[in-house]
Amino acid sequence: MIPFLIILFSLTMLYLGATSRVEAYIKTLALQGVILFFIILLDYGTENIPNLIFLSAETLAVKGVLIPLVLMNVVRKNDIKREIEPNIPFFFSLIITSSILASGFYISWLMSDVAISAHPFFFGVSISTIVTGLFIIITRKKIITHIMGFMAMENGIFLLTLAIAKEMPFIVAIGVLLDIFIAVYLLGFLVNKIQDAFAGVHIGTLTKLKD
């Protein structure tokens, strides 16, 4: 069941690479949170129940509900609809995302003899998610999509930590911490009354500081 969930996760990343609707990004992030929640439940085993409850509750609550809600709020308030002209047309963006996913699988295959503790599928898909997240940050222009690319990257990092969850459970907890802190601060910055229009800002306008 877990490989199936991981594959579904990678399909959501493909979708992120292709779409231009900002609300679709948010819904995909929420879906990723839900998929991660199920992966935690299925993969964890029965030791350390409080940790399990904490992790799964956090994943569902923060990644699946809270962050998408706040992002949706910001998007609706600023009336941001689409990411119209990214740096690369969406067609090529999808091709590149697919090739990143393919290299992720290739890396899984290379790792299959090295990584004994990590499930190889976890590793390949999480590395490709991280790289895709970075790719989305690079190729999109709106600040809100930068933040969503960052969230996608964080979901990938979370998936990576799940690979060693059995040996070092506290790494996953620290990953959760990363999530919450960054979310609180980055989103707090956006939702603040003073920078109301900041989220829809084009990164091309942030060019005053230069040499």
Binding site: M1, F4, L14, S20, F90, L94, I95, W109, S112
Partner: protein
């Protein structure tokens, strides 16, 4: 013997019923009663009784194209496993012949459309050609990967996934179904690739190619496109249905999956809007990406990378 007769009846009778189900689902979503489930049959018979109007600027190609299209789709149906997982013919690597039979039919539709000399039809023809070209790699990757893992290469053997471990089988089934469904939407000219109900020629893809056909020609074109959808739906159904069921149960499952697919197409048509023309290649590329994921998963599995 019975299987063959059942298959023949299926090919002749079912596609129009399929179209009727789709229309009925769309009416349901639209809050209407909608046409009867057997309305497409009545339309077919009505069209057969009419005479065809043929433009003077066309040549024999236009006259012949609809018949060739219908014939190619029916002959492509010979290879696909239908009811009870039996097909009329099967030999090694017959899925390639299947794909190219369909492509031959499409070719004749295209040149028939261009033969009319109308610019709308030429436009639709070029779009249709482009989107079909995008669908092809994905289709072959999916079938190739399945052939690879089953170590066989004819349709009926490929669809027999019982030798594959259950874990992998779920992944392959779901992913292939999603990818083949996208292919169905593209080849069958449904929303979000092409809106069959639009009356604006600029936005049509398939409809505009058959704009000038009438009478029996149009009837057979309708039948051929419905049959194409049913064939791709059969691929999906065959992947889902396990191979070792009693033939009657398997046949019943087959038909119910088709009805489910028809309902799903109707739902998708009602709930989504047609994509902007420039976004359609991305949509189809999505299918190719899923196909690539399938092949990557299978390669990983076979080379022992997964547990």
């Amino acid at each position: 013997m019975i299987g063959t007769i059942a298959n023949i009846l299926f090919i002749i009778l079912f596609p129009l019923f399929f179209t009727g189900c789709i229309n009925r689902t769309k009416s349901f979503w639209g809050g209407r009663q909608g046409p009867s489930l057997f309305q497409p049959y009545r339309d077919f018979v009505k069209l057969l009784k009419k005479g065809a109007v043929i433009s003077r600027t066309t040549s024999f190609i236009f006259a012949m194209a609809p018949s060739v299209t219908a014939a190619s789709v029916v002959s492509a149906a010979l290879f696909v496993p239908l009811l009870g997982k039996t097909s009329f013919m099967s030999f090694d690597i017959d899925f390639v012949l299947f794909a190219y039979m369909l492509a031959a039919g499409k070719f004749f539709t295209i040149i028939g459309a261009m033969d009319t000399g109308s610019s709308f039809e030429g436009m639709g023809a070029s779009r249709e050609a482009a989107f079909s070209a995008l669908v092809e790699p994905g289709f072959f990757i999916i079938l190739g990967s399945l052939a690879f893992i089953v170590n066989a290469s004819s349709f009926s053997e490929i669809m027999n996934l019982s030798s594959v471990s259950p874990d992998l089988r779920i992944i392959i089934t779901v992913l292939s179904s999603i990818a083949l469904f996208i292919m169905l939407l593209a080849e069958g000219c449904r929303v979000p690739v092409d809106d069959p109900n639009t009356h604006l020629e600029l936005t049509m893809i398939h409809e505009v190619m058959v704009l000038d056909n009438s009478g029996p020609d149009l009837a057979f074109i309708m039948y051929a496109s419905a049959l194409k959808m049913v064939l791709i739906g059969s691929l999906i159904a065959n992947i889902i249905i396990p191979a070792d069921l009693h033939p009657l149960i398997s046949a019943a499952a087959f038909i119910s999956i088709h009805l489910a697919i028809a309902a799903l197409i109707g739902t998708v048509e009602s709930l989504l809007a047609r994509l902007r023309m420039t976004h359609i290649p991305q949509f189809i590329l999505y299918m190719n990406s899923i196909a690539m994921v399938i092949s990557a998963v299978i390669v990983l599995y076979v080379s022992g990378g997964l547990r």
